[in-house]
Symmetry: C2
Subunit: 328 residues, 2 copies
Amino acid sequence: MNIKEVACLAGVSPATVSRVLNGSKNVRKSTRRKVLQAIEESGYRPNQVARGLRLRRFQSIGLVVPDITNEFFATIARSIEDVLHEHNYNLFLCNTREDGEEERRYIKALLDKFVDGIIFVSGGFEENLDLFQGDIPVVAIDRRSNLEGVSFVTSANYEGGYLAAKHLIECGCRRILMVRDQKQVAPMEARWAGYVDCLKDYNIPYDEGLVVSIPVEREAAREYLLRMHSQLEFDGIFAATDVLAIACAHTLLRLGYSIPEDVQIVGFDNITAAEYYNPSLTTIAQEKEALGRKGAELLLERIEDPEKEPATVVLPVQLIQRASTRQY
Amino acid sequence: MNIKEVACLAGVSPATVSRVLNGSKNVRKSTRRKVLQAIEESGYRPNQVARGLRLRRFQSIGLVVPDITNEFFATIARSIEDVLHEHNYNLFLCNTREDGEEERRYIKALLDKFVDGIIFVSGGFEENLDLFQGDIPVVAIDRRSNLEGVSFVTSANYEGGYLAAKHLIECGCRRILMVRDQKQVAPMEARWAGYVDCLKDYNIPYDEGLVVSIPVEREAAREYLLRMHSQLEFDGIFAATDVLAIACAHTLLRLGYSIPEDVQIVGFDNITAAEYYNPSLTTIAQEKEALGRKGAELLLERIEDPEKEPATVVLPVQLIQRASTRQY
DNA sequence: CCCTTGGCGGAAATCGATTTCACTAAAGCA
DNA sequence: TGCTTTAGTGAAATCGATTTCCGCCAAGGG
């Protein structure tokens, strides 16, 4: 069933049907009624591909994430999808597996399909920036990009790092191991910087040997601690993500450490596993839902009004105190 | 840059460019070279929307899941996406939040956008079946549908339920609480049936009071156990998903139970949290990656060859023994 | 040498919706 | 009444790629 058949059924031209469909006011009431009835009767639904071709927008956006099975990214994806769905947009999911080449392929495919905008929650961004000639609005979430014309939503990572270190110090820690992502992406650097500055403020010497840079993978954390725990002297761990924190806790428990008696741990993100882990994990909570939601809103605003300036939004973080640190 | 401009550049007609693009053999080698060079120089990429309109397929499929933040669904989504990406398809993500109405809206939107196929990992399916007039291939993963013409991939849920109960019994349990989803979806019924039959085979009386049907939510499990644990007499729990298992374990530990000394627990799915939980969780592992991968492959096969009969695939499950049950 | 065959490639129709342009009829104004 | 607006509508162009149909030309057969 296409627009021409509906037009026939209603005894008008396709142009008029289109006008009714798109709410043009230059249609007589009686005509509109006829057309609406024809649509109703025929169950006609406009072909979005044809519409997309003509209008050069396809009511859909692309989401690029490194790993959808990571709860942090999945939560962002879900909240983005919520907003889009409310506005009748659809979402292309692109899971790059942190691979820059794949990311490139994905971006091209998205542009070929005329997405109306793209949301990045991903690294490897800089190298692929040439693909955008400012054609479409882009929003980066979590990881900053220094691109002109890209909106940006992130959490207060520096404050989070500071808060984590401060809490551990106030709980009595003096030698705090920081387990961080080896990638020098902005959020990671900021968390680390917050940690460093906090130590400084509390007159605790900064020991470079206590900063561990590894891939954000359970295995990497486990392997590292198994190898190094006896040579390191530490009474607290600030892990830059909850995934790392739980892997650390898991490994230490197996090694016979007690948490929080021997080692106190603070994570970052507040994934659900943090609450359900045993002992439950003290962590810095990001507003994950808000990250996605805000990102989607910024994108849609710029799609509807291309004149709109790109914005930067920084969302607050919050210390969630649980059983992996001592009450104080 | 469109096909006409490329044609100009190469000094041929758009038809010829199209022929080169689509590998038609009726093109002279020299002409082909000219065209390829023009494409190269101009950086031309075909507009997939226009192509989609003409060919009535859009090189993209829709994925309908209840909740992408659930690791089980996320893993399936990722493996589907992997396969699609290899075949140059894109994926529309539809997160229904288990809402049948939303599911309906999503299906319509997908059909309007001319997806080439749909993969369901979702309930609320039956009521929405009228939307498919056999237009496009559909694959259901995990939850069975009795639709004609729908391929189907699932795990051996009955065997899994049996295996879980058997393991608990062999570890000494005699009163096994089964915590299951209140929804009567097929995988859930099968796990329950396996549990029942196993009890029967071991001559353990089936006590209906030991089967708890609740929503698959952490809070529901917690709330139930807090309220009922003192009135129930049980030495083992078979939770129909790891999420429920962990919520149960968490609650029992808080209540002062020891695991596995007082209560042994077996979950289902083998999500990563199962391994990292403390105590680590014995569980029935599903081949999550394979579920998605196989589903995607079945779908693509039927897209490329619509004559192909829909297939049913049942993947094996496996007991993963960890610390929440006693070694035997 | 003429005719057939088939390779090659262009013109034009097509997919389905939107939109411009032009035209009619009715309404407003003098 | 006569002239100008303006509301309402349809015909046709358009978006960009594919494909059918057709014609041209060269090679091969009689």
